[in-house]
């Protein structure tokens, strides 16, 4: 079993300490880990700093290898990131995009294998109709699905998904997360998924990691992390954990807790 250990992750933007000495729990093959936290908690920053450490300090071991100092290229073969922004609207078609992706990265797929793989993946995410239409004619949600197929085509060992469902409707939110979960389990990959929707996190993740202000607040089983206390403390909302009739839990958000200056000190930051 190959596992990923990330310890002592620190990142500064100038004087701003964006990630504060974060040590993640050991991630094992087949794990689907949810990364949760309010705006500017450091979710995207953490995912990006796993793919491009840049000036982030960290110690990463993957299996028995210390991969802290491997090259950018080697790192991108282990980690695959699906960014928050979907592919931009241009007259490129999803089919051309996936084809050029495979060839630009020299993926070892023959033309025949590639054409069936692309067709299957597009069908899996309901994109067959749109395969040969320009991206600019696709809705934001469809383009986000195209972004997901780009990551699946590369099939990295560790999937880093930054808000993969933010633009999707209810049907596709559930479909994407359950399909991803199946893939991770079947192919023995690892997934780190940043999510805003806590009920989705509760439902589809094996473990959760809660961040706030660049600090790791809690990690563990979903219900250990998502308690009424942490929700009011970190998310500033009044919430209740309910058990539904078929014995699953769901989070009922009641109201925001009013507190002054909640948004003043921090906004969404982008890494570059």
């Amino acid at each position: 079993m190959t596992s990923l250990k990330i310890t002592q992750l620190n990142l500064w933007y100038g004087k701003h300490h964006a990630l504060k000495n974060i040590t993640l729990p050991t991630l094992n093959q087949g794990d689907v880990i949810g990364l949760i936290g309010p705006n500017a908690a450091g979710k995207s920053t953490l995912l990006k700093s796993l793919l491009w450490p840049g000036n982030a300090e960290q110690i990463t071991t993957y299996g028995s290898n210390d991969i802290t100092h491997i090259s950018r290229k080697e790192r991108s073969q282990i980690f695959g990131l699906m960014t928050q922004s979907p592919p931009q609207a241009s007259s490129l078609t999803p089919y051309e995009l996936l084809w050029s992706l495979a060839r630009a990265l020299n993926l070892p797929l023959s033309n025949e294998v590639l054409q069936t793989t692309i067709a299957d993946q597009l069908e899996q995410f309901g994109l067959t109709e749109e395969a040969l239409k320009p991206l600019e004619s696709l809705s934001g949600g469809k383009r986000q699905l195209v972004g997901l197929t780009m990551l699946l085509l590369r099939s990295p060992d560790i999937y880093l998904l930054d808000e993969p469902t933010s633009a999707l409707d209810l049907h596709w939110r559930l479909t994407v997360l359950s399909e991803m979960r199946n893939i991770i389990k079947a192919k023995e990959k690892i997934a780190l998924i940043a999510l805003h929707d806590l009920n989705l996190a509760l439902r589809y993740c094996d473990k959760l990691i809660l961040l706030n202000n660049g600090e790791l607040i809690a990690s563990g089983k979903p219900l250990e992390v998502l308690t009424e206390e942490t929700l009011s403390e970190v998310y500033q909302v009044e919430a209740r954990i309910e058990t539904t009739s078929n014995n699953t839990q769901r989070i009922e958000i009641i109201a925001p807790i009013k507190k002054q200056n909640r948004f003043h000190s921090k906004g969404d930051r982008n890494v570059k």
Binding site: S90, E96, L97, A104, Q115, A119
Partner: protein, 351 residues
């Protein structure tokens, strides 16, 4: 079942694109031939055909007209078109900006400044640099200036780790600086020198001879394979820089070498023929509207489109007003703009 269907459609579209490229290539040859056949001295079709196969059969004047004037002029239109088209498609894709062209990078303005310096201070140059014969003075100095501008852009790209908007802003800044300096030179120069500068700026293919054709061809043929190597990355880049770089590809490095290629192509093209319209902007756009974003077709398409427009412009410049040669730089805009606008309206697409 579905996969073969989808791929068949994709293949069919690719075939359509290939046939369009073949049409463009044929059009290129047609305009090249027409360009060779047109001119003030009425050489007949047969004379020209004979002269091309066996130059000895021509009279001395006809031979000079055909081999030293018409052929290099017609060929330089094609080759400059290809070079600026390639530079244009690379900048548009690499900087992800529909307004970017080799000219936005300020390289052509630097070339104009160089040419102006050479024209205004001609005696200073010829007195101090003994190995510089008068005919190549202007192109040589303008080339040096264009290369200096390129160097500035490249170092900016390298230091800024290749942020695309910084490159564009820096290019525009260089452009304005060079324009201001050229204006200053024109302000102090003699009337005769100003006239020469203006004439040079308009862009004119007749300045070129065989050596220019060969030099620009060599530069084009050297840069082309490097562009072709990045053809998949260029297609991928059309999904956005975020997407492309999240795959682990080193987009900054691609962009640095892209700027290098574009700079050299533009510097060598502009220094011989002056600033020719905005062929490097229009050609790639027309190709993109027709061929789509797959750069395997778009890149050759952009080269061929620009070549066809420039060759057609060269033909028109000789025939519009019989006996008078209108500088080709003026004509290219007159042809390029209507085609572009018509295509945009017909397609109803964004750029």
């Amino acid at each position: 079942m579905k996969s073969t269907n989808l791929h068949d459609q994709y293949k069919f579209k690719s075939l359509q694109k290939v046939s369009f490229l073949i049409c463009l290539f044929t059009l290129c040859i047609v305009f090249l031939s027409l360009d060779i056949m047109t001119g003030p001295s009425n050489l007949s079709f047969l004379t020209i055909l004979n002269g091309l196969i066996s130059p000895e059969s021509l009279s001395t004047t006809d031979k000079i007209i055909l081999w030293d004037i018409r052929l290099p002029d017609a060929l330089i239109a094609i080759i400059i078109g290809c070079a600026l088209g390639l530079a244009g498609i690379e900048t548009q894709t690499g900087l992800n900006n529909p307004l970017a062209s080799p000219f936005t990078l300020g390289i052509s303005s630097a070339a104009v400044l160089g040419a102006s310096c050479a024209i205004v201070f001609a005696s200073v140059f010829t007195n101090n640099i003994p190995f510089l014969p008068a005919p190549i003075l202007v192109p040589a100095v303008s080339l040096v200036f264009a290369l200096i501008a390129s160097l500035l852009i490249i170092s900016c790209t390298a230091f800024q780790s290749g942020s695309k908007n910084t490159i564009i802003l820096f290019g525009v800044a260089i452009m304005f600086l060079c324009n201001a300096l050229t204006s200053l030179l024109q302000y102090v120069a003699s009337a005769e020198a100003v006239q020469q500068i203006v004439f040079w700026t308009i862009g004119n293919l007749t300045k070129a001879g065989w050596s220019e054709v060969i030099i620009v061809s060599i530069i084009f043929l050297i840069t082309l394979p490097f562009s072709l190597r990045n053809i998949w990355i260029m297609t991928l880049l059309r999904s956005g820089e975020n997407q492309a770089s999240s795959t682990g590809l080193n987009i900054e490095r691609y962009r640095l070498f892209m700027i290098l290629r574009v700079s050299v192509l533009t510097a060598f093209s502009v220094c011989f023929v002056g600033t020719i319209g905005f062929i490097g902007l229009v050609g790639p756009h027309i190709a993109r509207l027709i061929l789509g974003e797959d750069h395997r077709f778009l890149l050759p398409g952009a080269c061929l489109c620009s070549a066809v427009i420039l060759s057609f412009a060269s033909l028109l410049s000789k025939t519009l007003i019989p006996g008078i040669l209108i500088p080709v730089g003026i004509i290219t805009s007159f042809i390029g703009v209507p085609i572009l606008i018509a295509l945009i309206f017909m397609r109803g697409q964004r750029l």
